[in-house]
Amino acid sequence: MKRATQPTETSQIGRSVPRLESWLKVTGRAEYVHNLRLPGMLYGKIFRSTVAHGRLKRIDTSAARAMPGVHSVVTGAEVKTVVPDPYYGPAFHDQPVLALDKVRYVGEPVAVVLASDPHVAEEAVHLISAEYEELPAVYDEVEAVSSKAIVHDALKPAGTFPDLKHLKGVKNTNVALDFRLRRGDAAKAMARAERVFEHRFRTQQVMHTPLEPMVSVAESTEDSLTIHTASQSPSFVRIEIARLLGWPENRVRVRVPFVGGGFGAKLYIKLEALVAVLTLLVHRPVKVSLSMEEQFFTITKHASTFRIKSGVARDGRLVARECEVWWNGGAYADIGPRVTQKSGFTAPGPYDVQDVAIDSYAMYTNLPPAGALRGFGIPQLVWAYESHTDMIARELGIDPVEFRRKNLLREGRPQATGTVVRDAAIGKVLERASELIDWGKPFDRGSGAVRRGRGIAIGFKACIANTTSLAAVQVNADGSGTVYVSTVDMGQGSDTAMAQIAAEVLRLPAEAITVVHSDTDVTPFDMATLGSRSLFHTGNAVRLAAEDARAQLEALRKELGLPADCPVADIFKKKYGMRAGSVTGVGNFIPPYTPPDADGQTDNATPFWMVGASAVEVEVDTETGRVRVTRLVNVADVGTPINPRVVETQLSGASIMQLGFTLFEKMLFDGEGQLRNASLAEYKIPGLLDVPGELVNQAVTSEQRTGPFGAKGVGETGTFGVSPAIANAVHDAVGVRITELPLSAEAVFRALHAK
């Protein structure tokens, strides 16, 4: 493909540039860690716990070690020879590289077999046996509050987050964060309200199932380590591995090529600490590739319980709201405490409520760990508050859209944290979604066994703060540009978007820009690719870096006495007497933020708000309980789209993923905490036949004034409203209310029969 380097007057913003890596992806040549093989490399296969909670008494690895072809077997004891305190995690240092004294869930890594042939390693894993002294286990997030089963003997906050410091050393608790917000006096306002409604909602544990299963490779010298990993957070990996080893950061290099899907699964430390320790033990490159099954034992999405109570005045205005949310974090905290707080403070929804109380609890249980999954907790909350909102409206006999309209949080009004809402097109998004689904217009409601209904839901999200991104933009001697960022393109199109932003500043076509993939030896720090933060944060950093490069070129041009319209290549040629040189601009972006006080109040809770609504039409088969979504409309405020096509596909993809979480995906555990459906044979994800016949995705006209060229993130927005919109439509169709996800045929059938 020809790549133009000629300047252009055409704006690169709002241009649906095909992804820069298109050729690589349609020809199967894109680089993934999945493909990586290094000379002398060993493959590691993991032996996992078979009990949910127990003291590890003995591991017998002798038969595995004796098997021909086995290089070695590594247990927690060997890990400690490299890392004396081998516990990692972004919020708590609670997760061991391999189990030490205890196991805390079925599937927890206990030992690793290394062999040149992965089949040999896998077979040898089956020769390992372990003995446990079983301990009482707890699986339910609400039971975990009062359970005698205690997952961690003492809490070990990482020290990164101020609101976790008070938990240091605390014993006899499973609460990994108790976030609290108080605005006004919810109890008093509730007592004065005309009507009070209280409901309880639950969501199920699900898994991201990226089709490139988690994979990491590490290689080492006597004083350096290189980790090639399918990770969304290379900068974090470097810092955390350096901390574990007690090494300087510049001795740990983390490289990330393309990633075959992430959705929040590939954040923080997953396999990186393990491969790092293994290569340092055996002095050979080591690769650990998980199977699809093993992914389910690595990271998941929080199951949750949400008790929500609202007071409504005579005129239909919401006057008080109490929210109590329990997040099932599983055995290790991962980023759960941040989900608990950062999403927790939006639990009352995008409504203007004066008096609010929120309690949000991160809970340890004996299940596989839970972290971030496309929405950072928001879909769980919207599921509850938008089902609740619909239930109130219908109970009051008010049209559900009208009820929302009456109570929406408008521009310039304070949200529950006290932060005034700016650049959030909440009203516009709701109106557009209702227009697109023909809200209020008559439609065929079906007859006989098949009944139809419509539903709508709207959610919003704050972007995680306080986070920073850096970028460098290099202009080469011929005028072409190179962007250096540690943002990871896992399919969301960040390479293309960053190229468009740099190109806009440099007045080049986006195709004239290349984006260097994350390599901590080369690309500058970035907090992580998560929470729809990259376009805003890294995008702003790229813009600043490109402006810096442009300013340097401009200064050089003036210094050389060249005319204003002088091509960039001529500036370099005049300066160096030949084609040589480059300029590098740098950008460092960190948006302002005010940490919340003890009541969760702050004047600046978030750098931007994301708003998404979904509206659906469903068919319910009353004989089988099967729900079919026939029309799905997703509307979002994404600010000014940088690449409208990519924006549309992000909304679409997110909504279809959420459709799976709504209708059928669920991790099923038996009474001993053993997962029963850890494979795509038994855990169904959406396929082509699940896609609604009519699917519309739209961004409303809007501008995020603090964003790069008016833009903000979009990766998660399409997930917000899908689940409650469907539940609301099911209720509209057949009059039953489902309060627990998924809305499986069985659940709907049972509800119909209970009616």
Partner: protein
């Protein structure tokens, strides 16, 4: 226990020493450096490992390499230039992370060879064995339709 297997790989006669348990995806990766077919679910359910054997799509993660003896094997890497299907996938933005894309490209080629003008319903059913977690499905349907138009011209 290895034995020699000869087959045609993307038009070229090749030979490999393979063990009885080795799958075609492993052999293509380890012996021939071809990474377009990828094992993901490991159960023949996701389509990421799709390969054409004698013109028919198979799940390469389940297909034993010894069975390829004497066969014609085609991967996404075949061909020096983009074909109509690949062009259509680019033009319709029919992929995100790209991990499942080679499987979709090969299945689409097979679909259009059998049925040059498929309806949307036929496309959905024919490709229903290929999964895309990014859910680029609406764009994939559009890409298949576009590829069909390109090929009919």
């Amino acid at each position: 226990m290895r034995r020699a297997v000869q087959f045609t790989l993307n038009g070229e006669r090749v030979e490999a020493q393979v063990a009885p348990h080795e799958t075609l995806v492993e052999v293509l990766r380890d012996e021939f450096g071809l990474y377009g077919a990828r094992e993901s679910c490991g159960q023949g359910l996701c389509g990421c490992c799709t390969l054409l054997v004698n013109g028919t799509a198979v799940s390469g993660c389940l297909y034993l390499a010894t069975l390829a003896d004497g066969a014609r094997v085609e991967t996404v890497e075949a061909g020096a230039t983009l074909d109509a299907v690949q062009e259509a996938f680019i033009e319709r933005a029919a992929f995100q992370c790209g991990f499942c894309t080679p499987g979709f490209v090969l299945m689409t080629r097979q679909l259009l060879a059998e049925n040059p003008d498929p309806t949307e319903d036929e496309i959905r059913h024919y490709l229903s064995g290929n999964l895309c977690r990014c859910a680029a499905y609406p764009e994939i349907i559009e890409a298949v339709k576009l590829a069909a138009r390109k090929l009919r011209k």
